[in-house]
Symmetry: C2
Subunit: 143 residues, 2 copies
C-alpha cells in the first residue's frame, strides 16, 4: 500500500485526482505502479487501476492476469471494477471506500452482482485514514 | 450503425468478438470507428467503445465529450457504460441488448443507477437482428 500511496502523492503534485494503484504478480512481486492520469493523458479511462492493468497485460502479452493482486488507495469505480473482473485479477485490496463513485462495495457493486463472471477476493482498510485524507485535502483545495 | 457493423465484421475476421462502435461529434460528423481489439492489443480494456473514446479524446485533447453520440452494435458492458458516463457522452445507441454481459439495461444498469453522475440518453434497436446474428455466429463457431 505504501507504493500505491506514493503514486497517489505523485498524482497530487501533477494536479490529478490523488489515487494510486500497484499490481502484484502471483509470485508476490510488484510489477506495475501508476496513478490517475486523466488530465495528463486526456483520457477519461486513464484511472490508476486501468493503467496498471494495461501496462502489465502489454508486458506479459496476455489479456488476463489470474493470480494477480491489485492494490489501490481508493475503492475502484464501476469502470475499473469491471476491468479488474474482465482481466481475471484474483484479489483487490483498497485503502478507503468511495460511497460517491465506488463500484465494489458502493453504487452498482459490480463484483458482487449476479452477472459478474469473475469475482476477485476483496479486502480493504490498510492506511484507510491516510488514503482518505489525501483525497479530502485535494478536493478541499479545489473548492 | 452500418459503420459500426462494418467494424464488427472486421473484428470477426481478426477472430476478435464482433462488436463495433462509432463516435459522432455534436455536429453529426463521424469522428472515430473501432472494434473489439482485446486479443490483438493484449488489453482487456480494448473494447470498441473504449477505443473510440480514447481515440477522440486524444485527437481533441480533452477528456470529456459532451454533445457526442456513441453507436455500438451491442449494449455496452459495465466498464464501457461507466467510461461513456465519465466521458460525458450525451447519447448512446446500440443495436442489440446483452443480458449476459451488458451494463446499460442489463446487469448492474450503470447509467440508471442513482450513483451515476451523468446519464446519457439511451436508444436502441437499429439493425438488431443483424447485430445479434454476428455475435451468435461467432460464439457458435468457437464452441
Amino acid at each position: 500500500m505504501h507504493l500505491a500511496i506514493e503514486q497517489a502523492r505523485i498524482a497530487e503534485k501533477l494536479n490529478e485526482v490523488p489515487i494510486g494503484s500497484v499490481l502484484v504478480d502471483p509470485m508476490g512481486i510488484v510489477k506495475q505502479a501508476s496513478h490517475n492520469m486523466v488530465k495528463k493523458n486526456c483520457d477519461p479511462t486513464a484511472h490508476a487501476e486501468m493503467n496498471v492493468i494495461r501496462m502489465e497485460c502489454q508486458e506479459i502479452q496476455n489479456e488476463r492476469l489470474p493470480g494477480y493482486q491489485i492494490i489501490s488507495t481508493l475503492e475502484p469505480c464501476p469502470m475499473c471494477a469491471s476491468a479488474i473482473s474482465q482481466a481475471r485479477i484474483s484479489q483487490i485490496h483498497y485503502g478507503t471506500s468511495d460511497s460517491k463513485s465506488g463500484g465494489v462495495e458502493s453504487g452498482p457493486k459490480i463484483l458482487s452482482h449476479s452477472q459478474s463472471h469473475h469475482k476477485p477476493k476483496i479486502t480493504r482498510g490498510t492506511e484507510k485514514a491516510l488514503c482518505s485524507e489525501l483525497l479530502k485535502k485535494f478536493f478541499k483545495s479545489r473548492r
